[in-house]
Every structure is written in structure tokens, then in C-alpha cells.
């Protein structure tokens, strides 16, 4: 009797879930029908280049679909996004009264879909934004796991897309693109700055790779090997490790035996924390430790304990000392970072720069386009030439804006235990850098 009751409850619950789900799908289905028309219209427009006026004048808002890693290991990049969104949308929708589209002032609304830091889910999430939510423009972010599949969705459904936060080389693997565009850093330029930084140090020029089996690790191995070939540097490669490894002692032992004084590590923060602590336990402290991918946040450096983070060098993708401003917010990079620190706890995260630049470009593109016709929007995106918190940005022949990625060092700070200083920015000379580089105190023991 009790079992029967349970089953009845279950059936009712399932029916509710199914009805709820089908209603959601049905909504999608019916509006997909509308959108089929819209989609056809946009396809025709692509060919003819004429704006489809009736489809856009009925709009009450501009929908931006943001497929982003809200959960999973990449979610850390999205931490400051709500704060930046509130700031920028306030400037666009409230202070400027929206954007003039086909004679109407329309506000921007951002719809998020969680990629769960997974490329398969990124594809599904972006497809849902395009086919069900009918977004006017697609935004995708962070690493090739997000940027590449979201760009594929843009190409398949012929919708303008703007992606950011991946190495340009990895993103271009999915090209040539027609509808997808990107704001990415260039791995070659980054490695150039890192090698320039090493050149300023007195070391035995032995470089040890601590690279993971992920795409960034593979890219790092290829680029460093190519760039260091024929130079005075000698490479020592103990082999790739798997993300999530908890025992690096074998690798550390090899690096120590090879007398490696420069380590270049491509590690997420938890892996690096484990690795670096084991290095100290093993009594192996290289003169230079340069890390890509991880250690972007001051709290992470503090977590290394004692003096463990002092002097760690890393690839910084944005810094408050960039001498540039946001045209949308009317604030300099320093002012934006300081505002973040005054309204939030802790050291500013660098991903603020990417988020602000994205809204700068979005505002500029939509204002210039003056319509939500897809082909016109794409043309407006590709014609972008704007000064942002990354400096002047415009697209190259691969539809990519290359943003600075420069060598930076964590050093003891005044406001926070650690603060970062740009130590090599030869590839982007407008960005000031500091000399001399201080070899980590820990290495001098």
C-alpha cells in the first residue's frame, strides 16, 4: 500500500516534470517556428545585404547570448562578470537610454547558458541560445573549450559571434571563420615576452617543461621548443603530466637532477600549488618559476604560504597599470580595478579587463550597426577599430583581435600581501614594465 502511494507520488512528480519540460520545449518549438522564418530572413539578408526591417522593429530589447563556464574548473574566470555586467549595462541601458536600433532605443539583455567548462556542453548551450532564445548576437568565452565550439555554432547557424579568452593559435584551428570573431591573446607573443624576461636573469639557461597533457600544454611545448631552438637555452622535458596529478615527486626529481634553473609550467592553480609545495619539500627551488594558466589571483599566491609565492612569474592577460581606458565607462584601467577593489573583497581579477572590453566593443558595434540584421551586425563587428582597456583593437585577417599577454611577477605589496608588476612587455611597448626583475627570495636560500 505504501509502495503504491510512493509510485503514485512519483508518477505525479514525473508528470509535472514532463509537463514543465515539454512546456519549455514547446515554447522553444513554437518560437523556433517563428525563428525559422527569422532565420530564413536572415539568410536572405546575408545574400542580399538588405536589412530585414520588419523583424527588427518589433523588438523590445537586444538579446545577447553568453555561453560561459558558470560551473566547472573554468568558472573562476566568470567571478567578476556579474559586477562588470551591472556596471556596463547600467551605462548602456540607464545612462545612455539603450541603443538606437531601427529608430527605437532598445536596452541590452544578456542571457547566460552554462557550458559547464565542457566543450560538448558548450556546443549544446550555444545552440540553445541561438535556436530557442533567438539571441541577436552570440558571445562565448574562455579557453578553446568554450571559444571553439561556440564559434562552430556561429558558423552553422550564421549568427555573429564574439569569442574571447583563448590562445589565437588554438582558436584559429576551427577557421577560417565567416561569422565568428575573436579577442584572443597570441601564444608566440606571450612566449616572446617570457623569454625576454628570462634574458634579464642570471641563470644557467636550462629550461624545464612542466606542461600538462591539455591543449595549452601541447601548444606551450610546440611554441617554446620552436622559439628556444638555436638559442643559448637548453630544454629539459620530463614529459607531460595529467591535470589533477597529486604526486610530482618523480618529475621534480628529474628536474633537480638535470639542474634546471628555469621552470615554465602550464598548470591550473591547484596543480601548481601541489607542485610548488612538493618542490619546497624536496628541497628543489629553481631560480625562475614561470607559470601560465594558473596563479592569476592574489589569493592563490597567498595560499602558497609563507614566502612561497614571492617572485613567481606568470603570464598576465590584463593589468591595472595598462595605460588605457574604457570608452563606455569613461574610466581608466586603474580606476576600474580600484573600483572593483573598493566594492569587493580582495585583489582585482584580471578577467575584468576582458569583460569590460567585451561590453566596450558590443556597445560600439551595436551603435554603429543601428540594426539587428545579422549581416550588417557582422560587418559592423569586423569594422571595429576602438580604444579599450587593452589599447586600440581591430581585427586582423583571421577575424581576431590580438590582446596583450605579458610577463608579470608577484611581489610583496603595500595594500595586499602580494601585488603584481609587469616585468616584460616588449611585444606591447605602450605598456610600462619594471626593471630589474627580483629573483624570488625563496630561491636565494
Amino acid at each position: 500500500m505504501k509502495k503504491e502511494m510512493y509510485r503514485k507520488i512519483l508518477m505525479v512528480a514525473l508528470c509535472i516534470v514532463m509537463v514543465f519540460a515539454m512546456a519549455a520545449c514547446g515554447g522553444g518549438g513554437s518560437s523556433t517556428g517563428d525563428s525559422s522564418g527569422g532565420s530564413n530572413a536572415s539568410t536572405e539578408t546575408t545574400g542580399g545585404g538588405e536589412p530585414s526591417a520588419p523583424a527588427t522593429t518589433d523588438k523590445t530589447e537586444i538579446l545577447v547570448g553568453f555561453a560561459a563556464p558558470l560551473t566547472g574548473p573554468l568558472a573562476i574566470f566568470m567571478g567578476p562578470t556579474p559586477w562588470v555586467e551591472a556596471l556596463c549595462l547600467d551605462a548602456i541601458n540607464n545612462q545612455n537610454g539603450g541603443i538606437l536600433v531601427d529608430g527605437k532605443q532598445l536596452p541590452i539583455r544578456v542571457i547566460y547558458a552554462d557550458t559547464e567548462s565542457d566543450s560538448n556542453k558548450a556546443m549544446e548551450a550555444a545552440t540553445k541560445l541561438v535556436t530557442q532564445d533567438k539571441v541577436d548576437i552570440l558571445v562565448g568565452a574562455w579557453t578553446p573549450v568554450g571559444a571553439n565550439p561556440i564559434s562552430a555554432v556561429a558558423e552553422r547557424y550564421e549568427i555573429p559571434a564574439f569569442t574571447f579568452g583563448a590562445p589565437e593559435e588554438s582558436w584559429l584551428e576551427g577557421g577560417p571563420y565567416k561569422w565568428a570573431t575573436g579577442m584572443h591573446f597570441n601564444y608566440d607573443l606571450l612566449c616572446t615576452d617570457i623569454i625576454n624576461m628570462w634574458n634579464k636573469l642570471d641563470t644557467n639557461k636550462k629550461v624545464g617543461f612542466v606542461l600538462d597533457t591539455d591543449v595549452d600544454g601541447a601548444t606551450g611545448r610546440e611554441v617554446y621548443t620552436r622559439m628556444l631552438e638555436g638559442t643559448e637555452y637548453e630544454i629539459f622535458d620530463p614529459g607531460a603530466y595529467t591535470i589533477g596529478t597529486t604526486d610530482f615527486t618523480s618529475m621534480i626529481s628529474k628536474l633537480k637532477e638535470a639542474n634546471v634553473e628555469i621552470i615554465t609550467a602550464d598548470m591550473i592553480t591547484p596543480d601548481f600549488t601541489t607542485f610548488w609545495k612538493q618542490c619546497h619539500q624536496y628541497g628543489y627551488i629553481p631560480k625562475v618559476c614561470t607559470i601560465n594558466k594558473g596563479m592569476h589571483y592574489e589569493a592563490d599566491v597567498e595560499n602558497l604560504g609563507d614566502d612561497g609565492g614571492n617572485g613567481i612569474t606568470f603570464s598576465s592577460l590584463w593589468d591595472k597599470n595598462f595605460p588605457f581606458s574604457s570608452p563606455l565607462l569613461g574610466m581608466s584601467a586603474t580606476e576600474i580595478a580600484d573600483l572593483w577593489q573598493s566594492e569587493n573583497e580582495g585583489f582585482y581579477p584580471y578577467s575584468i579587463g576582458y569583460d569590460v572590453a567585451m561590453y566596450d566593443i558590443l556597445n560600439d558595434v551595436l551603435t554603429r550597426a543601428g540594426t539587428l540584421d545579422k549581416a550588417t551586425l557582422l560587418d559592423a563587428i569586423l569594422a571595429t577599430d576602438i580604444d579599450t582597456v587593452f589599447g586600440n583593437l581591430s581585427f586582423n585577417e583571421n577575424q581576431c583581435m590580438v590582446v596583450p599577454a605579458i610577463a608579470t611577477q608577484w611581489l610583496p605589496g603595500e595594500t595586499f600581501p602580494f601585488e603584481k608588476k609587469v616585468v616584460s612587455s616588449e611585444t606591447f611597448p605602450a605598456i610600462p614594465s619594471y626593471d630589474p626583475i627580483i629573483i624570488p627570495a625563496t630561491t636565494q636560500k
Binding site: 510512493y6 552554462d114 591543449v215
Partner: protein, 339 residues
């Protein structure tokens, strides 16, 4: 751990047996009705692109492909008693077959499906040598380890473009309708394969093994060969489904292609649908895909909600949805018995 695993296996076996008994009870008098249902279903499925938009088509594509995966996992776990956590090996092989054939060599994508099937069968045959020496939980873990090894190997394999993987750009030009018909062929194909297997001598042997391996062996069922056949068929269809999935996904990387999350999805679908039934993975796939779509509206907590729903269903209906329907509804559109 072994005793816990055996207990779970006993419960599963008991649940499967009860589901089958229910199916037998439903049996007679469903002939004409079954043909009618099949006919309507085929007409509806074939004509979906004429009246549905891109979103519904995409949801249908996912349902069909996930259903194929669920059917194959069910064939192993529900009938042959081979609880595998490594079916993603064949999804990855299928996906990479598509990527390498079309992207690296510029050959027709259709060719990739044949290669995916062939390579998956050969790979399954090779790994069956060590894997089939393991039993129970050891087999389960062994299959998982094979997948992890594949992920590592592909991540460091230059020919497969290391961990960068491939954007399968040939699929950019394909519309949702094109992909839908491919998915329909794979989904219905998997259903037909399972249906005819279960109505064959192999199916009888599988069900006998599932109920009692020792008794089946005494009655002349060759356990090793029967399991191997089942494993190879499952690998073949999963490989083809993998190619279909990446035709839809358009981007493949080793960590995702060989990730455990594929098998978690398969287990979810089969368990909530009903283990050891042909209808179970169909219902499971529909529920799973619809839930996933709805849960996109709850970013950040979607996985938590999905997990709670899964736990609730497992607790309240351990034999899955089919276990509940089996006692009440007499429609049996996938009767595994010859009438």
C-alpha cells in the same frame, strides 16, 4: 567493495528479471497495435523536419543519439551482465574517426561512419583479451581505465593533433535537418539491432546468462563467446553513434571525447528508463535530454537538480519508469518474444 558490488548486481538482476516477467505478461494481442504504433512513430519521426524548427530538431537529434548510446549500454549492462564504465572509448574513437577522415584527410564524412564501426570493433576485440579476464567490479574499473588511457594517448598523439583536437569544419555547412536524418538512422538502427539480437539465439543466451550464468553455462551457453559478441556489437554501434554525436558537436578534444560523463549519461538514462528493457533507454533518453534543456535555465545549479532527480527516481522507482508501467500498461511494442 566486492560485496557491495555483488549486492548492487543482485538487485539489478532482480529488477531486470521482474521487468522481463512484466513484459512477458503484457505479451499477447499486441500484434496489430504494435505495427500501428511503429507505423505512426516512423511517419512522425521522418516528417519532423517539415514542421519543427531548429531547436526541436536539435533536441530530437540529441534524443536519438543518446537513445542509441543507452541501448548499447543496456545491451551490455542490462542483458549481458557486463557493467561497463568505458563505453566512452568507442564514442571517442567514432568521433576521432569522423574528425580525422573529414578534417585531416578531407574525405567524405560518410566514410567515417564505416571506419568508426570498423575501428571500434577491432579495438574492442583487442581490449577484450585482457578485459574479459576480469569479472564484476574489476571488469567495470578495467573498462574505465582503458578510456582514461585512450584520453591520455590521444592527448599526446601528434597524428590526432594532441590535446587540441579538431574543429570538424565540414559540419559547419550541414543543416540541422541533415544531421537529424543521420541521427534518426543511428537511433532507429540501434533499436533494430537490439530488437533482433534479443529475438535471436544470442538474445536467448544473453537473457539466460543474465538470470543465472552458471545455469546458462550448464545448459550449453558459451559465456565467453556470447559476451564477446555482445561487447563487439555494442562497441560497433556506440562507435557509429560517437561519429554521429561529433557530427552534431563539430569540435572534439580527447578529454571530452573519452570522458566518463558519457557513461554517466548512459547509466542515468537506462536506470531511470528501466534496465533490461528495450523501451527503458528510449524513455530515459527523452527524459534526460528534456531535463538537460530545461536545466539550462538554471545555470550554476543544473547539475545539482539533475542529481537530485536521479536519486529520487532511483529511490522511488528502482526498476525505472518501465518498472512502473510494466505492471499497468499492456502495450508491448518491443516484445522480445516470438509470438
Amino acid at each position: 567493495m566486492s560485496s557491495v558490488f555483488n549486492k548492487i548486481k543482485d538487485n539489478v538482476t532482480e529488477g531486470v528479471r521482474e521487468n522481463q516477467e512484466d513484459a512477458i505478461k503484457r505479451g499477447a494481442g499486441a500484434g496489430k497495435r504494435t505495427i500501428l504504433i511503429w507505423g505512426i512513430a516512423i511517419i512522425v519521426l521522418v516528417t519532423v523536419p517539415t514542421y519543427a524548427g531548429d531547436y526541436v530538431l536539435n533536441v530530437m537529434i540529441l534524443m536519438l543519439l543518446y537513445m542509441a548510446l543507452g541501448q548499447m549500454w543496456n545491451l551490455l549492462g542490462g542483458y549481458a551482465g557486463l557493467v561497463s564504465l568505458g563505453q566512452q572509448s568507442f564514442i571517442g574513437i567514432g568521433g576521432y574517426a569522423l574528425a580525422i577522415v573529414s578534417q585531416k584527410y578531407g574525405l567524405p564524412a560518410l566514410l567515417a561512419f564505416g571506419i568508426a564501426a570498423g575501428v571500434s570493433v577491432v579495438f574492442a576485440l583487442v581490449i577484450s583479451i585482457p578485459i574479459f579476464k576480469m569479472q564484476g567490479v574489476y571488469f567495470t574499473i578495467g573498462t574505465w581505465i582503458v578510456s582514461e588511457c585512450l584520453a591520455l594517448w590521444f592527448s599526446t598523439w601528434a597524428w590526432a593533433n594532441y590535446a587540441q583536437g579538431y574543429n570538424i569544419t565540414i559540419t559547419y555547412q550541414m543543416t540541422a535537418t541533415h544531421i537529424y536524418y543521420v541521427a534518426l538512422a543511428i537511433g532507429v538502427g540501434s533499436l533494430i539491432v537490439v530488437f533482433f539480437i534479443l529475438r535471436s539465439r544470442l538474445g536467448l543466451a544473453l537473457m539466460a546468462m543474465r538470470d543465472n550464468e552458471s545455469a546458462a553455462e550448464v545448459r550449453g551457453v558459451e559465456l565467453y563467446r556470447t559476451k564477446l559478441k555482445c561487447f563487439l556489437i555494442s562497441a560497433c554501434v556506440t562507435g557509429v553513434a560517437g561519429a554521429g554525436i561529433y557530427l552534431q558537436q563539430a569540435f572534439i578534444q580527447p578529454t571530452n571525447a573519452f570522458g566518463i560523463s558519457w557513461t554517466v549519461s548512459m547509466v542515468f538514462m537506462v536506470v531511470i528508463g528501466g534496465l533490461g528493457t528495450v523501451e527503458g533507454p528510449i524513455i530515459g533518453a527523452v527524459i534526460y535530454v528534456v531535463l538537460r534543456q530545461v536545466l539550462y535555465n538554471f545555470p550554476g545549479i543544473s547539475m545539482v537538480i539533475l542529481g537530485i532527480i536521479a536519486i529520487a527516481i532511483i529511490l522511488l522507482a528502482p526498476k525505472g519508469i518501465m518498472g512502473i508501467f510494466g505492471r499497468r500498461v499492456t502495450i508491448d511494442i518491443f516484445s522480445v518474444r516470438r509470438k
